[in-house]
């Protein structure tokens, strides 16, 4: 038996460790790659700035794009009384302003939250989810989404994206320029250490985007566990979220309008692949339910 305070604390510590590891990896990789290919720091800075601008654009205008992509319509209190009042009540407990709410008309069951901070947040749910869950189960799902907003997960994933983007740009630029230059100039720093570092730089050129993405997915999974634990802190009732996850897991419908480009956070992986869980943005449902059961 672990209570939710303890689970929240553990998840926060673990996610901090992963994020610190991630930043370290990016910095080391960027340094070694530029060492191996004799790049000046203007390349690093340029890659970073470009990636930053692209991500900021998606950060500020991404909400509207996500809503349009999914054909979401605003939800009013009369037609979606339970959805509206659940979000309203949990925002009160969450001590955050009530987000704008939208619905997507589809039988697939899912919900997502987006928005750069609690003052500009949006929560969206599918009509499939709203009809198939009762109020207590809906509270579990909405508490999870509101926790994402309060924990600034969207902002965290944005920062992670900027770093990955810069790294990918860097490796891209080098690969292209190598094609034309055909090799690295010798400089007077080559000794044994220099050769080893250069070798690692070469390997990182090929593998670092992949490694960085794996770490990013690990961060995403850890934040999902944190959102589950924070949801229990809000509702004090793990059974709502447990039942909701079970019902969603057994539902055969797939959300066809989901896209990997959206920087928002779904309640479960909308793609439902049987891929190795290393490549999934969400932990397996069984693991999440197990963690939630420990708080019962």
């Amino acid at each position: 038996m672990i209570n939710f305070y303890e689970q929240v604390r553990q998840n926060k510590i673990r996610s901090t460790i992963i994020v610190v590891g991630f930043i370290t990896f990016i910095l080391v990789a960027a340094y070694l790659i530029s060492y191996a290919f004799n790049l000046g720091s203007e390349f690093l800075v340029g890659a970073f700035i470009f990636s930053l601008i692209m991500t900021l654009l998606s950060y500020y205008s991404g909400d509207q794009i996500v809503l349009n992509l999914n054909q979401a319509i605003p939800a009013d209190r009369d037609k979606y009384f339970d959805f509206y009042t659940v979000v309203e009540n949990l925002s009160l407990a969450n001590q955050t302003p009530m987000p704008k709410i939208y619905v997507i008309e589809t039988p697939a069951m899912n919900a997502f939250a987006t928005g750069r901070d609690p003052q500009h947040a949006i929560v969206c749910a599918t009509t499939g989810l709203l009809t198939k869950l009762n109020r207590t189960q809906l509270e579990g799902v909405i508490a999870h989404e509101l926790s994402h907003i309060k924990n600034y997960d969207i902002r965290l994933m944005m920062i992670v994206s900027v770093l990955i983007g810069s790294l990918s740009l860097l490796t891209n630029m080098i690969s292209r320029s190598m094609f034309f230059r055909g090799g690295r100039d010798r400089d007077n720093n080559s000794g044994n250490i220099g050769i080893i570092l250069t070798l690692i730089g070469f390997l990182l050129l090929i593998f670092s985007p992949l490694i960085a993405q794996l770490i990013q997915l690990a961060i995403s999974r850890r934040r999902e566990f944190l959102a589950d634990a924070s949801a229990v802190k809000l509702t004090r009732q793990p059974s709502g979220l447990i039942e909701a996850l079970q019902i969603i897991g057994q539902d055969p419908n797939i959300l066809t309008s989901a896209s990997t480009a959206t920087a928002s956070l779904y309640i479960t992986n909308p793609f439902k692949d049987k891929l190795s869980s290393l490549f999934s943005t969400h932990p397996p449902l069984a693991a999440r339910i197990k963690a939630l059961r420990e708080m019962l």
Binding site: F81, T85, N89, A93
Partner: protein, 176 residues
Amino acid sequence: MYILIGILLIVIVYVIAFYNRLKTALVQIGASNQEIGNQLKRQADLIPNLVESAKGYLKHEKEIFTQLTDARKAINANQIEKSQKLISKALGALQVIVESNPEFKAATVMTDLMAELRDTSDKLMYARRTLIDLTADYNASLVTFPNSILAGLFNFQPQKGLEVTPEEIKKPEIKF
């Protein structure tokens, strides 16, 4: 030399951050107290109107209407606990009536009414929960080390939070 200055700076920043955090927490606790009053007032204002809308079904239940009118008067006179008791009684009676009249369940007016009533209770519950959580976080800061020393220096006092009276913990009676 510079290391000492650095450490001193860090300590000063820590103390200032701690002081501000606790002061903010106290203000938030006050605000959440007001929120409970806000929800109670909403309840007292809303419920009589809702029950009015279901008057057709409840025309023989004069007692409920009397209790609700009294509750509204109590809120206006700032007698929060008295109004709470009256509303609880009226809601209890309402619940019994709905349960014992199956045709009410088919009426949208009645199901809407019960949904709004449940929502009102939920809001009150979450307002109370917020006060409890904020007070717990604040009180925890007072007793954990090293903050306990700082709290003593600035003379921060523990907060009461929400008190539950013995009669509120009484089990509800269910008669069949």
